[in-house]
Symmetry: D3
């Protein structure tokens, strides 16, 4: 008996990524919830780069397991591809439009990687890097114009505690399943995972929700009560359409 | 047999709140410790609004329990009051001078609420909002001139994991008991809970302590040793009085 | 039978401290890893002072145990040395060039100390203070030009939960062994512990590594791939030497 | 505006409880999963009574919050009903067929109750008691013929850390929502919560599943492979029916 | 300035230990609570020896810190006393009537010690051994007629992660302060710490409480309600005295 | 560039497994420590089968990631091999002498598997099954003559929270790296991982250590002090050899 294999992931085109990069995690999580997805957010991760930079990209996954003293030595930081140096292989495999997502099994006791490799991925056209562990070189990373999300900053070399076991396999990251090719979305709040087959539909739904909610927020700021207004009743939705048709005039206080 | 019920909470007047808003959590916790209260601080919560804004208000409580798939659906976000939409009810019940405190049983896997409801509470005159879970819309909240404290930022919709079970009952929040009407105090450091019956006394004690400690801090900055100076000896307290009487002249280096 | 005692710690001179203060935690952890030290970093601690301030100093240790109601009372905040007020004793024992490291057994439920004692230690010439618990007075501390690292900010008075049991004994802090006299190093990323006997050697090794990696980072930013470049091959090391010899000219994009 | 209130809970009759007490948590969780309930199990709780005793009863809930020094004193252990002694009130309100479920917010640092109150509830006809904290008197409880589930054994008096804030309100217990009147089920493995409106249907479904799976287990023990057998194919279901019709003859090894 | 030192601990005589060994942790924690001690119990520890064996002894403390690769090597398992082999020193210093309490800072990733050292301490007259980490050789220990309490069983050699830093200093163990000479009490439920100066008084109070509660438990088992009976009213206390005076006759069902 | 692949694992023969099954985890961890392996133990796992059964087998690995609502449905419990039913594939791929090790990323919120699949693996000749999550059907498993280790018992169906992502890849289990083919060893205390290339050497070393330590334990039980005896001095080792040569006569009390 042979082990069944997964089909190649769907390819989400750049124009969908570009639209998704502009929607909010609030709309994404609500719309994904309506489709049955309870937890698409990597709870607890934060951006190191300041100010943060909204983005969306195709997931390129990297899987860690605990290091072992005979396998993970300084000698594995080879200058050419090697099965025990898959991290370098991964960095040099990343393609434009991808976001590297690292399953560090929520262990921040050593760095997932640091400034040098992240710079290289940026140069290769990656759109961001995410780990549920930590990165080193936090000071440099904080000044990089590149989305870098983690659970912390730890200088300890990866070799102390982590082994890179696989590239481009399904992983868990901060409690969320990530399949290669899924859309990884980041705004100022969170990293959200969008299944590849829903990417285009989510762009439509979230653009509409963000626009409507922006309108409602102004009315709430104007002093209106929630009842009937938010969540939007059919009448409210009509008022929104009329407001859009009217050229989005200023909202007056109630 | 009927179940005994609690008497209505004491009402702490606004002028006491205004005085408490100006004292430090350091003095509050020390004075409460002297009265026998070991832990009045909600350890681990942080303000989302930057810069932070000191405040004090009367607790309005909201209690969460885990969501259940048959109870907590998108349909419960009703446009009129409903037993399964107590969150909206709570927001529209908040009165000026109150601080909404949410018992999210320390679970940040979904948002306690977001920008829209928090804006509405601010419009209604609330003085702040606190959860031991997370809020969504962190980016907008960070720019709001309103005290917003949480254990994190999570976009995931509340419906995924939380049900609002009760309003205005005693709760625990980040390990501290909160009874409706207690004073919720926030400075740049922490959220501190002051039992309502101690509010006025605490204002007196902490104003005095803050003034004395400000004086002592200048003397320590001036190079004096702790022994005899801090904690203040009777002689030091006399020196403080004299310094106040003298019009608070500059402290010279020792 | 008597209990064997430890020899006095090595004294790391100020000039070594000054050199170490300038190297990065990335280089330190890598070089310590090569010597067999897997975890020299206090994972999870962050600087309260902003902007952070790189430093290195000799460890002065303070050990906490849980408070007990009969031992730890407000009366122990004495104005003269007392066995139950070792915290004041410690503060007044700190010498120039030392960093106070507090073993709060990772319990942030009360403050390790606050503004007044930290100011006093700074006045005495300390180079920083570190706890794996929390400090109070975070607002004041954030503005102090002094390295202050902790796992959080908690106003609760130390007396509620902590007793100072010992000074200048080996401790654990955030999972790392600290022997009095070890070098405590902080940059913008982490606190790293350097065994005293390795301090001078580490200064040599890390200065060299930081210089080489700065050169390599520029080449990576210039577009070069990792293979052969980083980790540095013998050829790359020669190129670095030549670049240094040539007066460190600008690196062009590849 | 008044706060909407919940309707009275459904009453699950004793005969349904008696049937549910005989089904397995394995079947219950599978059938609840098919209805959309992902987590009906209180993960991590264990029975103190040995040997364990399968049971099912109607939930009677008791809600804890953190104790406060001025509210929770030894004097609250009154000999008559009192708002600060709701625990005694609850024990004397329990009715036959009920299971007391305590929301101790997963804090086992003090006992939820002990031998005396649990004995009293047993005498009143309760079918079990569950806490996500701890009980004291574990030695006596281990020998009681009564289902007693907890996260641990702690002698510390409840007064140290817990206040009983409410009776018969919706709670969370070990991460699961419990509404008064829900069926609380325990076998040798876990506590499972069955929404009251599903109780009778679950009895039907689980009796059928347990019977089928018992048959399949014998076939697997007889050496058959899983493919086609388990999960049961239509043919396998027919074979099960035939086996039942044939009087459940012994299963031979494959 | 010299560092103040602690006076020698009080010596609790064996006859008090023998009386305390017979009282329950339930009574001890209640009586200690009445004196102001909120948490005298090492929450989460369990006995490895089965059946458990009630005991009380004078605390002999052993303090661990994290191991360091250059200090903690196999070579430190010396055959004569050495500063880096304080564990052996401690074992050979234990005196009859003592209980060894190990502060493993709640880290069970390596063994605190194993069968050989524990056997040796038993031979020397120790009354038990407690760690908030783990022991190895759990299988042998489970069959030893000696109280052995821990948070788990881990075979990993202590050298991997723990260094013995001190003997006979105040420690924390599972969150409770232990001063050398305190009484360490274990029954079937928990380890409880009794401050030495309260040992004799606690023996008196707990013997009385245990006797009274045994009587009340029989009345509750007989069907009486809690109100008026438990906590005992003055009338109930009189009834208890009368019952004792009458020779402790059987209690009939109510 | 192609991704480098791992060579096939070493095959540890059954006779080495049989020898290893008889040595203790205490000796294994000590000997592995001497080779540089700090943590070969899966801390926190316990056997469900009682009494426990010592074993050693070749690792067959199964990797979990978080479930996703669109991928993990009841429909994936197919009756023939399918990429989303790798668990069934794995069970039917297990070969005699193997131990199934499941990386459930330490999440016990749903079962890794239950009675039916474990029975099937036993029938196929597996030597045990290990997860760092939980199993369901704990009652049945406790009576099975088969080594079954986990972090708990949870009835919740795997589909709720876990997806089987891979078979026979390197994994982490309870913090320890496991490569397919490694020896998984269980005694009454722990699961220990032995790298395949060290299996035969470990059998030699541990048989010798266990024999020597058994002898020393008897001498300690006879009343001898540790100094000079344990760790064994050269003289002690000679005495052990003489004792073996003399036919292992009874050890008298010192």
């Amino acid at each position: 008996m042979s082990i069944p294999t997964r089909p190649a992931p769907l390819f989400v085109p750049d124009e969908v990524l570009d639209r998704l990069a502009k929607v909010t995690s609030g709309s994404l999580t609500t719309q994904l919830y309506k489709k049955g997805y309870r937890q698409p957010v990597m709870v607890g991760l934060k951006p190191l780069n300041t100010p943060f930079k909204p983005f969306a990209g195709r997931a390129f996954t990297m899987r860690f397991i605990p290091a072992r003293e005979d396998v993970d030595t300084y000698a594995t930081l080879t200058t050419e591809p090697h099965v025990n140096n898959l991290q370098w292989v991964g960095v040099e495999e990343v393609k434009p439009g991808e976001v590297v997502v690292i399953d560090s099994y929520r262990d921040a006791s050593a760095a997932s990687m640091g400034n040098m490799l992240i710079t290289r991925m940026k140069m290769r056209g990656a759109r961001g890097v995410v780990t549920d562990g930590a990165f080193r070189d936090g000071t440099e990373l904080s000044q990089m114009d590149f989305p870098i999300w983690s659970a912390g900053v730890t200088a300890t070399t990866r070799l102390s505690f982590h082994h890179v076991a696989d590239l481009q396999v399904p992983i868990g990251c901060a409690g969320v399943a990530v399949y290669p090719g899924d859309v990884i979305h980041g705004d100022g709040d969170n990293i959200t995972v969008v299944p590849a087959h829903l990417a285009a539909e989510m762009a439509d739904l979230c653009e509409a929700q963000d626009d409507l909610e922006g309108y409602l927020a102004m009315r709430v700021q104007g002093g209106e009560a929630l009842w009937g207004l938010y969540p939007p009743s059919p009448a409210t939705r009509e008022q929104h359409k009329a407001w859009v048709a009217a050229g989005r005039p200023p909202i007056k206080a109630a």
